[in-house]
Structures are given as structure tokens and as C-alpha cells.
Symmetry: C2
Subunit: 160 residues, 2 copies
DNA sequence: TTTACTGCAAACATTTTGCAGATGT
DNA sequence: ACATCTGCAAAATGTTTGCAGTAAA
């Protein structure tokens, strides 16, 4: 049995943490301190992040979670669809927490990394048309949008 | 001045090679044997490829082009928009030759890697709507479609 | 002749893995 | 108790870089 644990010091609702914890549990994974720690690290961030960010956060906050464990946990969470892996315009790999488990895409601020989930962009008819024209059987697609969030648009100069 | 050189042994039209050679020339890059070799390697392939593929092809065909040169050339060609970098569903980085210099996206076969360029998917209104709703200023997007090409659909079993 | 380019090997960054011991259930 | 996890450190990848020599223009 699991008790919901949210040690986050940020203003985030515990639901994100709970959601991840429950997903892990439901999938039969053991709930360990390290995993809870990684989940907390993820939920404390509120945009796209790289593994290096989590490693740095962990060290800074003196949370014990080995690099390998962070990678392993991220892999599991990605498999569960609780987190998604995406590719920044510069080619780096990063991750985002997903608010919903349904099919969706992400819009990421290229300045602050803040990201929002976009559901139903209306790609279906486009995909159907492409499939019809090309004869390909399209079974997956990636759509990632990048730009400046409202806040960063106001701060014109380079990131802090 | 440049002479068009197409040493490709494949059935591909020389135009792709010429196109790349001319792009390099137009941008002021020197035309060297290594670069010609890398271009030839790229044009001999007809789908998405990883750098490792080119390295392997080069060695197999006994073409001299150091690994570093392949990376460097690919970087230049990417900058010129003659080649595009994309991310496979499995997370690997790969490249595709672009038929056109105009804005477009790619549809890649997950079995044989064959890829076709897609122009004008009709994303503009979608982007506009998202921008309006979210307040983000969207300045770039990535759309990559994956599936099975007509040929691979017929061959049901795992790749050769 | 001048400056860009190449090859090579070393340096780097990132992610994976083997294994002995720790720990959930 | 027993299988799953973790940490660690080594290894495997993938990509970049410094430099002395080579070759375009």
C-alpha cells in the first residue's frame, strides 16, 4: 500500500507527485526512497529539463539519488507516459512531465523551458491526408512547438 | 568555378549531388575530395541515416573521409539546409537529405528508413490558434511522421 | 601564398551496464 | 525470504576539439 508523499517545497500541487507515485505503483514497481526523490525533483521543476538538471538539483538539495538511478527512473516514467522525452531545437534530449496521459504534444519556451501540454491539435485529418497521398501507414508522429512564453516575451534580453 | 561531379554508383540522379556541391560553393566553402566523398555517401543513401551509417559506408566502400570530417561536413550541410537533422522514435539522431530548401517536414519509414519530404502540411492555422490560446510566440516547430512505407507494409516480418 | 580543411587521437559528454550489497513487499 | 533496487565505477556511445600537416583558391 502506498501513502501519498509530497516533500516538494515548491508551490506545486501534490497531485503531480501523487500521480507519478500511483502510476509506478499501479505498474508494479516498488516505491523506494530514490524513486520518490527523483519524482520530487521532476515535479519541482516546471518545464522541460535535461537529466543533467536533475543531477544538479539533487546535489544542490542534498537529495541522494545516483545518476544511474535518475536515468533508470526516468526511463520507467517515460515508459509509463508520465514523463515524455523530447528533443530541443539545439538537438539536446530533454524530458517533460505530462499533465495528461492522453495523446498530446508540447509547447516549450526556448528561454525558460516552461512547457504546456497541447491536446488535440487537429493533426488527425492531416495525417490521414498524408497517408492517403503517400501510401505510408503512419503509426506515430512527433509534434513539438517552440517559442517564447508570455513572461519571457516581456523580458526582451538574454535569459537570467 | 566548380565542375559537377557525381561519382555515385547508384541509380540516383546527379542532381542531388550537384545541388549539395553548389550549395557548398555558393556559401563560400572549399570543395575538397573529402567533402565530395561525404556528399556522395549521403546521396547514395536514400533515407534517413545516422552518422555511424556514413562511417560504415565509407569504410566499406574504401572512401577516405575521417569520422571527424563526416561530422563537420554534416554540420555544414545542415546549416545550409541541404540536409536536416531529425530524431528517430527511438531517440537516436539521424539525418535526411532534403529535396527542397523550402520549409517542409519528413515522413520516415521505421523499417527501411526511406523518407519523403512533405511540403505544406497546413500547420500554419494550427500554430496560429495555439499561439492565440497560449500567448506563446511560436517561432519554430518540429513535425516528424513515422510509419511503414508501401514496400515495407508488404513485407510483414522483421527487417532483413 | 594564404587560409581553409583534413586526419588523427585525445578529450568530452552522455547514457548504459555489471555486480555486490541494501531494501521494499 | 526473495526479487527488485541502488550505488558505484567501469564501459560503451556519440560528438567535439587541438594541432600539425595538406591542399583549395
Amino acid at each position: 500500500m502506498l501513502s501519498a508523499v509530497n516533500t516538494s517545497t515548491s508551490g506545486h500541487p501534490g497531485s503531480a507527485v501523487d500521480d507519478m507515485v500511483q502510476s509506478l505503483d499501479a505498474a508494479g514497481y516498488r516505491m523506494t526512497d530514490s524513486r520518490r526523490a527523483v519524482i520530487d525533483l521532476i515535479c519541482t521543476r516546471d518545464g522541460a529539463f535535461e537529466t543533467a538538471d536533475l543531477v544538479a538539483d539533487a546535489r544542490r538539495r542534498k537529495i541522494e539519488a545516483a545518476r544511474a538511478t535518475i536515468f533508470r527512473t526516468l526511463e520507467i516514467l517515460t515508459g509509463l507516459g508520465v514523463v515524455e522525452r523530447l528533443d530541443l531545437p539545439n538537438g539536446d534530449h530533454s524530458y517533460v512531465r505530462c499533465d495528461s496521459r492522453a495523446h498530446h504534444h508540447h509547447l516549450v519556451c526556448t528561454r525558460c523551458q516552461r512547457s504546456i501540454d497541447l491536446e488535440d491539435l487537429g493533426m488527425t485529418p492531416i495525417l490521414a491526408k498524408v497517408a492517403r497521398r503517400t501510401g505510408y501507414k503512419i503509426d506515430r508522429h512527433r509534434v513539438e512547438l517552440f517559442g517564447l512564453c508570455p513572461t519571457c516575451q516581456k523580458r526582451a534580453s538574454p535569459a537570467p
